[in-house]
């Protein structure tokens, strides 16, 4: 199954979501998903890092926009969004904690630590978790 089928699924989920149709950031999110596809064609460590970067921007912004559309306070980051989703019973507590462990912690390391570069397997695991998180939230709101 080509990777593009997964990225395109995310675009459909975003474009087809009733809470996001009025978002002013919808075109920026779509632009970010296009960059995921382009970065995914580079099979180098920096290519994986770029893919993680654009995917996390897609995830962070989409979840924040879902919170705003629900008229909850605008979250400051992904951890905040996950807390809000748990507080409003969109995801159960252990799922939020699972996403913190599998997405937020490794993502922060790659984004903030000098010379931290994801290898193919690490990047694939992180990307899959981010896709799952996005799909789960958009399917449940």
């Amino acid at each position: 199954m080509p990777y593009s089928k997964r990225v395109q699924l995310l675009r459909v989920m975003i474009d087809g979501h009733h809470l996001l149709s009025g978002s002013k950031k919808l075109s920026a999110i779509a632009g970010e998903t296009n960059k995921i596809t382009r970065a995914g064609r580079m099979s180098t460590d920096s290519g994986w890092l770029l893919t993680v970067l654009h995917t996390t921007r897609t995830l962070d912004t989409t979840l924040a926009e879902v919170c705003v559309a629900k008229r909850w306070p605008r979250p400051k980051g992904l951890g905040d969004s996950l807390h809000a989703l748990e507080a409003h019973a969109v995801i159960p507590p252990h799922v939020r904690q699972g996403f913190i462990n599998s997405i937020v912690k490794p993502r922060n390391r790659y984004m903030h630590e000098a010379n931290a570069m994801p290898q193919k397997r690490e990047a694939e695991a992180l990307l899959s978790e981010m896709h799952t998180c996005l799909t789960q939230v958009l399917s449940s709101t």
């Binding site: 199954m1 997964r6 699924l9 474009d15 149709s21 990307l127 899959s128 896709h131 799909t135």
Partner: protein, 272 residues
């Protein structure tokens, strides 16, 4: 037929053919997102009927649970008589023949008996998935088994006629056990996990009796007379040849209720 349908979709709609959904091994043929509306399109070819073959109700049920509640389910049939039969099944929100324009912009999700009961069951299904995915089977047994009311719905729905027919799948103590698949090819693993997932959905929700079986099962769960079983699955972590998202088979199996085993040899032996 897929290409012909895609050509007739609104030009600005976002479309994916054969989407790679993290939870689904048999997703809709096409997903369309357009201005905050989502449409899942299923193509019904010659000789196919809703409720049989690759269009078994279990596939539609799992897709309903995996996609947003507002998604519209559209069935496109190659022949008008197939379209009429599919419309009678109540499962789709809209059924059209292949010559019709697939999306007119006026598609809405129906408040059909099928959709209403699925909305009721969505929460309990997703809660079981979250539990199955997060907690290996031995720990989960120790944690929650004592809280389960009554029999499993599978135990109440299964009989000799509806026993799963797969060498990888067995039934033990009111739940399904999916056996080892490590020595199989990726395609064989896909087939085994996919058919196990459909069998689990069919038996968990009483789909042999169609919408009536689903209503009966919802009543059992509502009255706490039964619970959704946590099945046991020994799905390989990294199937051969799968380049991306190696955990997809495990996740898709968990979505159908199979908890991955903590220690495969022990869990499988204990389960049997």
């Amino acid at each position: 037929m897929v290409r012909a349908v895609v050509r007739r979709l609104p030009p600005r709609a976002t479309t994916v053919v054969y989407p790679d959904h993290p939870y689904l091994l048999q997703p809709p043929e096409i997903l369309v997102g357009h201005r905050g509306a989502m449409t899942a399109i299923f193509l019904l070819g010659d000789g196919e009927r809703l409720g049989t073959g690759r269009h078994v109700l279990a596939r539609y049920l799992l897709c309903r649970f995996a996609l947003p509640a507002h998604a519209v389910f559209l069935v496109i049939a190659t022949r008008p008589d197939l379209a009429e039969a599919a419309a009678d099944a109540e499962v789709a929100d809209k059924v059209v023949s292949a010559r019709a324009r697939p999306l007119t912009g006026s598609e809405e999700r129906l408040d059909s008996r099928w959709n209403v009961v699925i909305d009721e069951l969505r929460g309990v299904h997703l809660a079981r998935f979250a539990e199955a995915w997060a907690t290996p089977v031995r720990l989960r047994d120790e944690m929650v088994q004592r809280d389960r009311p009554g029999w499993s719905t599978l135990a109440m729905n299964i009989d000799d006629h509806h026993w799963p027919r797969s060498r990888h799948l067995d039934v033990s103590a009111g739940r399904l056990v999916l056996g080892r698949l490590e020595d199989r090819s990726a395609a064989q693993q896909w087939a085994a996990v996919s058919s196990a997932s459909l069998a689990a959905a069919r038996l968990d929700y009483g789909l042999e009796l169609g919408v009536n079986g689903l209503h009966r099962t919802a009543g059992l769960l509502r009255g706490r007379d039964a619970h959704l079983a946590n099945h046991v699955g020994l799905v390989p972590l990294r199937p051969p040849g799968r380049a991306f998202d190696p955990e997809k088979f495990m996740r898709a199996a968990a979505f159908a209720g199979f908890s991955p085993a903590l220690r495969p040899e022990t869990a499988f032996d204990n389960a049997l």
